[in-house]
Amino acid sequence: MDNIYRPYLMTISDMTDEAPGVRTFRLNFSDEEEGKNFKFQTGQFGLYSVFGAGESTFCIASSPTREDYIECTFREAGRVTKALRELNVGDTIGFRGPYGNVFPIDKWEGKNLVFVAGGIALPPLRSVIWNCLDLRDKYKDVTIIYGAKTVDDLVYKNELKEWEARDDINLVTTVDPGGETPEWTGKVGFVPTVVEEAAPDSNDTIAIVCGPPIMIKFTLPVLEKLGFKHDKVYTTLENRMKCGLGKCGRCNIGCTYVCKEGPVFTAEEISKMPDEF
């Protein structure tokens, strides 16, 4: 019988510093055969481990359309992420996954897409953004609204530039008041306010929102005001997890196991959950 807790071994092939304490790893399967057989869909997550330090849960931050590797972006915050940051290109880490459900991007074909992200929550949306951008013809207007505390805290700065330069994406970036620099040309204000100002057309549009609980709490009513129906608004939740397989018993919100039935939910599904976020 297979050991469900056995990770794949992966080699760090590249890394990028995104913001203070935030780093992206590009990972390749150490075993080529395993790499060929590995498939995931956008929205799924995994458990990344440093042997000797432990496992930590993050989304897969790259798009499944980029088949040769996966990427993860993490902020140094605890024991495992500290150990991850001490690793270098060429080092080996463990990866279990892919786990959880997916963003139903097939269902979104022919529609406008509005992505709203705050801070370190851009990585899970980056996977679905690139997935949709790699299939750009299938979607109508694409709007990305992204905010962070300060200019320095914005992640994927190079990709933000790339998105800004494209004329088939409407990118709005913002930083919290006081987080701007003299050179900053984006907006200054909190994400919910900026979404309200940007007022994306809700007609035939899907909104995908990810951010800290407080941002989500204030953004959902704004989207509702703009005419977005609850079943047209998607988010991805993260709760503390250990197994990712519906056994360790801690990521549930009421009856819903975020690791199995999630992490992707519609605002409608969330509205039916008990207030235990």
Partner: protein, 336 residues
């Protein structure tokens, strides 16, 4: 298959099991505590108790267990699968409530994907249960659909029929094979055995619990009842059906193990996010999770109550929180 087993044959039975390559686990008395642990000899077995201090859980899902071993050499990681964790054993003299916890827990450890550490131990271990001939005020198996002589989860069920004799009933093929293997210790059962089974009072009506839980995620009882809870988590550790766990690495510079450790929903850190945000920030929320998980969530997911009525959580609680009192309170609230 029905047989008779005389107490004076316990010696031969345990010695015979050992000869057949079984490890035997049985209730053993050590000062005030009676615990299920490995025995070498029938003289170590104690049967004069209501229920063992520890549950059967740790023999299938140990307090701590290796789920992966590895060696580290510069950039090279070699992984090694843990071996030898499923040891051919007989658990002798456990109680029906504990035995029933096994098929209940099979559901979570097998749904979607199987945890081999649980499954392989389940295959390797044969359960010989002894029906309860006495109970105490903490027992409430009859309130959760069980009985002091329930067979579910056992391979063989022994029921006292006189001071020295037990009626032996095989429940599964595994149990039947065990009895056949040890055939010489058993004799033919009497025609109308006088089964000595404890009475356990029915404390609440299970049917009334879930409908109330469905509607009362927000209710004052959660905080009120758990005011005295000190969050020690003892209830979760002695519980045969609490299955929450943590996964951590334990290692030196050159080698290590990834281990699965018991964890519990009553601890503050259990759900705390890296950011410091905690979805279950109060003891009331954590207590609610324990009750909801056992009597609502598990029922919805797996069509089974995650409680076997053993009463251990209430017996060990240093703050004297009693789960059946909580459920009686819910029944009262449901009747309002």
């Amino acid at each position: 298959m029905e047989k008779l087993l005389n107490k004076n044959k316990f010696d031969t039975l345990i010695a015979g099991l050992k000869k057949q390559g079984y490890k035997t686990v049985a209730p053993k008395k050590d000062n005030r505590l009676v615990t299920l642990e490995e025995v070498q000899d029938a003289s170590e077995i104690s049967l004069d108790h209501v229920i063992t201090n520890n549950s059967i859980k740790e023999f299938f899902f140990p307090k701590t267990e290796k789920i992966l071993s590895y060696t580290l050499d510069k950039n090279k990681v070699e992984m090694e699968e843990p071996k030898g964790f499923a040891v051919k054993s007989v658990i002798f003299g456990t109680r029906p409530c504990d035995a029933f916890s096994l098929p209940v827990m099979d559901k979570v450890f097998n749904w979607d994907c199987s945890d081999k550490f649980w499954v392989e131990r389940r295959e390797a271990i044969t359960i010989v249960t002894i029906s309860c001939d006495k109970s105490d005020s903490y027992c409430f198996c009859t309130s959760v659909g069980l009985a002091p002589d329930a067979k579910q989860g056992s391979d063989v069920l022994l029921t006292k029929i006189s001071n020295d004799e037990y009626l032996v009933e095989t429940v599964t093929e595994k149990g039947e094979n065990l009895v056949k293997e040890m055939e010489s210790v058993f004799s033919d059962p009497p025609g109308t055995p006088d089964r000595q089974v404890a009475t356990v009072e029915e404390k609440f009506d299970l049917k009334k619990i879930k409908p109330w839980l469905d509607d009362n995620f927000e209710h004052d009882v959660w905080d009120e009842f758990s005011n005295k809870c000190i969050g020690c988590g003892a209830c979760t550790f002695v519980c045969p059906t609490c299955h929450c766990f943590d996964i951590v690495d334990e290692c030196t510079m050159t080698k290590g193990d990834r281990v699965k450790n018991w964890d519990g929903c009553q601890f503050t850190m259990f759900t705390m996010h890296t950011s410091g945000h905690n979805p279950r920030s109060t003891q009331g929320m954590r207590w609610r999770q324990r009750i909801m998980h056992k009597f609502k969530y598990y029922v919805e997911k797996f069509d089974s109550t995650l409680c076997v009525g053993c009463g251990r959580c209430s017996r060990v609680c240093p703050a004297d929180m009693n789960i059946s009192e909580m459920l009686e309170l819910i029944e009262t609230e449901a009747g309002k």
